[in-house]
């Protein structure tokens, strides 16, 4: 075919369409992360609180906790902060922050201004650990059980409805599962 190059646009479009077709059924919000029911990946990272000491999974709570991916640049994080603050005040569950692709000073400043709901803030400034966790972008929220196994993941902002309808039941389920 002498005009085969004229078919290039339609071929490119076809390839794109196939990917989009696949993309439709990989819902970024509800598809369980491949990490669900797997242990939290190992890390060795600094924290906002502990100076130069490198933290590992051993420093995490030995009860169920929330791991929240946040950044000072992240607008939705500001929106979910009051929810975490009230959870902290009511002592519902320990909340660990993963400060993702951020600057330390900006992060500290943000916590000073908006309130710090986190028991501990692990620093993932270059986003490497985020790759291990399959992070799409801040905010994301993981629930980790007492054995350090990821049990739940929510991508995107948490509002009061999601907190009541999804997060709280998931916490209850993990605690129930732990007792039995």
């Amino acid at each position: 075919m002498k005009n085969f190059k004229l078919y290039i646009p339609v071929a490119v479009f076809a390839v794109l369409a196939v990917f989009m077709w696949q993309g439709l059924f990989l819902d970024t919000r509800t598809l369980p992360s491949v990490l669900i029911d797997r242990p939290l990946p190992e890390f060795e990272l600094r924290s906002l609180e502990m100076g130069d000491r490198l933290l590992t999974t051993a420093d995490l709570p030995d009860e169920p906790f929330i791991l929240n991916i946040w950044g000072s640049y992240c607008l939705p994080c500001l929106q979910e902060n009051p929810i975490f603050m009230s959870a902290k005040e009511r002592g519902i569950i320990p909340i660990i922050g993963l400060n993702y692709k951020d600057r330390d000073d900006a992060a500290r400043n943000w916590l000073d201004i908006n309130g710090n709901p986190f028991d501990l803030n692990i620093i993932d400034d270059n986003g490497r650990y985020g790759i291990d966790l399959g992070v799409y972008g801040a905010p994301e929220t993981f629930l980790v059980d007492a054995n350090g196994v990821i049990r739940f993941k929510h991508i995107g902002v948490i509002n009061y409805r999601i907190w009541e309808d999804e997060i709280m039941p998931a916490i209850a389920a993990i605690r129930a599962g732990g007792n039995s």
Partner: protein, 666 residues
């Protein structure tokens, strides 16, 4: 009962679109004048019924009819009336009806302003737009009907319009964006009609150009309003985030810009014909892709509408049919669209080609960056990654830099062949002036060597001086400057203004990203914070009430060098019905810089968190786009399009006496 009328009107619009999609098309193929002549009445019918449908939805909002699901989830009795009406486009279903109505509006415009074109061509164009309308109306009826009811137990009150949308810009941003977006379907229909008929000549390009310009200019405004809105509403001090949903309109805009330039060459020189057609198809495809991305839940984003895979499947099927079909048609028919003339390797054609290449590469890169997370996810079986601003900036900024360099040369070079000596004569002094002033002024002003600023200044002056030099050469033989300026064609002024606006936008974007400063502080009443040359003193907050929100309003006294300058009043609002907090910025916008303050939350000891910004030149970004859009619209009004119409209609009347609507007018 009334919502059912809206639904019924929508069904009728669908039925009429089906007729419009087939009867005039078959009529054009068989040269059946009666069938072709049905195109206009059917189009009017489609528009009328879409309008009834839209009106009924608006009425349901105004009447607080919460038995309609869409009204219940996007309105509230306390919502002010202007937001009730505009809440029509505040969610997926209603905004799609609005979108489809816009398509109907453009179809009606084609009906009215196509009197100069042959009947056969108009019939095909309207039929193609009718087919697109079939897809849209069927989509609504099948997957997202805005008239779905919550019966038998409707809620007593609605859930309220998303708090972030309750702003003046929400009233104007979606309409202008949609209008521009949908306008590209006109050019697409022109391109497909040309492919079907095999007729693509200078006349075709001349019919096409006003439509392409109008759609593109309106899209420019829509994009700019969106950016301005994001800037003052979202409160992070930015104006563009490379969000997956911001990107598709930008891709469409870039492809549209490429198409406008390519159309110029097609009209004037009969070259780039099949390329122009391909651009028209791609621009339209990118607009559909934008729809697909926002409405299918393919990519998560602040803009994304509710996610629903069936909608995605439908839109993707429609996309495959329309775009796949037209690209195959293109592959089959494009060999017939031969260029009429050749051109030298150093000519205006070549510079236009370079412009097109840059714009298309930029759009391809943005498309890649936008879809890559999805492709990666599909290939890796579920892992997610994101592509951030660094990727887009790294590619986009240098490409725009090259584009601006060429922007000075292209308009000065001649069609067919331009000599190097000609360019050197016109641009030699321009280059020297731009480089010397572009270096000296920033150095003197900052007492430093700011490379980013120097680069920006040199490029901006390079284009502006070259335009001035071009105008000077063009009017050199005229008796006076005024008569000389008057003698230049309107479309030339359109181009010059648009180019100037583009340079202004680029310069604003560069300078604001270099010089913006910000500071987040925790202040008690009476305390102040310094930023740049300004002091912001926090005077405390007071409680204010809006129609459907309550707010804390801070008073911030800004002073400069110890002298009082201005008060700013940022607010922290709580929308009562939905319980959503939002921030209302306190902004002082000036030509050379913005002061921007946001109010955070109250902390212990009554201190408030707040962020203050000084953002130099940020306004240039949006002022520039007004010039771009105005230039585009000005070019539409060029009298040669009108002159040509008269000639053309006379010609048509001569050719088919008595059979044509087109001959009777003008």
């Amino acid at each position: 009962m009334i919502p059912e009328l809206g639904n019924f009107a929508l069904i009728l619009a669908f039925c009429l679109s089906v007729l419009l999609g087939f009867i005039p098309m078959i009529g054009a193929a068989r040269n059946n004048v009666l069938w072709m002549s049905l195109a206009r009445p059917l189009t009017v019918g489609v528009f009328v019924f879409l309008s009834i449908s839209l009106f009924v939805l608006g009425y349901s909002f105004v009447a607080d009819d919460f038995s309609v699901q869409f009204v219940a989830s996007h309105s509230n009795t306390m919502l002010p009336i202007y937001y009730k009406i505009t809440a029509v486009w505040g969610g997926h279903e209603g905004s799609f009806l609005f979108w489809t109505w816009m398509l109907g509006g453009w179809m009606l415009a084609v009906c009215i302003f196509s009197k100069a074109m042959p009947d056969e061509f108009v019939a095909r164009v309207l039929a193609i737009m009718g087919l697109i309308c079939v897809g849209y109306t069927l989509f609504m009826l099948a997957t997202s009907n805005p008239f779905d009811r919550v019966l038998p137990f409707p809620p007593a009150d609605g859930a309220d319009l998303n708090a972030a949308l309750q702003d003046f810009a929400f009233i104007i941003h979606p309409p202008s964006l949609y209008m521009g977006y949908v306008g590209f379907s006109v050019v697409f229909a022109f391109a497909i009609a040309a492919l079907i008929s095999g007729r693509l000549d200078a006349a075709w390009a001349r019919w096409c150009r006003p439509w392409a310009n109008a759609a593109w200019a309106i899209l420019t405004l829509g994009l700019s309003l969106g950016s301005w809105w994001a800037y003052y509403e979202l409160g992070w001090g930015g104006w563009w985030a490379w969000d997956p949903v911001e990107n598709p309109p930008l891709i469409t805009w870039l492809l549209g810009a490429a198409m406008i330039h390519s159309l110029a060459a097609t009209e004037k020189r009969g070259v780039f014909k099949s390329w122009t057609v391909l651009l028209a198809i791609m621009a339209f495809a990118s607009s559909l892709l934008g729809t697909f991305i926002t409405r299918s839940g393919l990519l998560t984003s602040v803009h994304a509408f509710a996610t629903d895979p069936t909608r995605g499947v439908y839109i993707l099927g429609f996309l495959a049919l329309i775009i796949g079909g037209s690209l195959i048609l293109y592959a089959v028919r494009a060999p017939q669209l031969k260029s009429e003339f050749g051109f030298g390797s150093f000519s205006r054609e070549v510079f236009l080609l370079a412009n097109n290449l840059i714009l298309v590469v930029a759009s391809a890169a943005i498309l890649l960056g936008t879809l890559y997370p999805m492709v990666y996810q599909a290939m890796s079986g579920g892992d997610l990654i994101s592509v951030g601003p660094p990727f887009f900036n790294t590619i986009f900024v240098p490409l725009m830099g090259i584009l601006v360099v060429l922007m000075a040369i292209g308009p000065i070079s001649r069609w067919k062949r331009t000599s190097f000596a000609h360019l050197r004569a016109q641009l030699g002094k321009v280059a020297i002036a731009a480089v010397s002033l572009g270096v000296v002024i920033p150095v003197l002003l900052t007492m430093d060597v700011p490379f980013g600023t120097i680069g920006t200044a040199v490029l901006a002056l390079w284009v502006i001086f070259s335009m001035a030099s071009d105008i000077k050469t063009k009017i050199a033989n005229k008796s006076s400057v005024v008569s000389g300026l008057r003698s230049l064609p309107v479309s030339y002024w359109g181009m010059t203004l648009a180019h100037f606006g583009f340079v202004m936008t680029m310069a604003g974007a560069c300078l604001t990203s270099i010089y913006s400063i910000e500071r987040s502080v925790l202040l008690q009443a009476g305390q102040s914070a310094e930023l740049g040359r300004y002091t912001f003193r926090f005077e405390g907050t007071r409680y204010v009430e809006g129609p459907n929100f309550i707010a804390d309003e801070a008073t911030i006294v800004v002073s400069r060098g110890g002298e009082f300058y201005k008060n700013l009043y940022p607010q922290k609002r709580l929308y009562v019905a939905s319980g959503t907090p939002t921030s209302q910025m306190g902004i002082d916008g000036r030509f050379l810089r913005d002061l921007f303050t946001t109010l955070g939350d109250q902390r212990e000891n009554g201190a408030w968190s707040m962020t203050v910004y000084v953002k130099p030149f940020v306004r240039w970004i949006w002022i520039g786009t007004i010039f771009i859009a105005f230039g585009g619209i000005l070019a539409v009004t060029d009298k040669r399009y009108r002159q040509f119409k008269v000639k053309q209609s006379e010609k048509v009347a001569r050719d088919n006496p008595g059979t044509t609507l087109a001959g009777e007018i003008v």
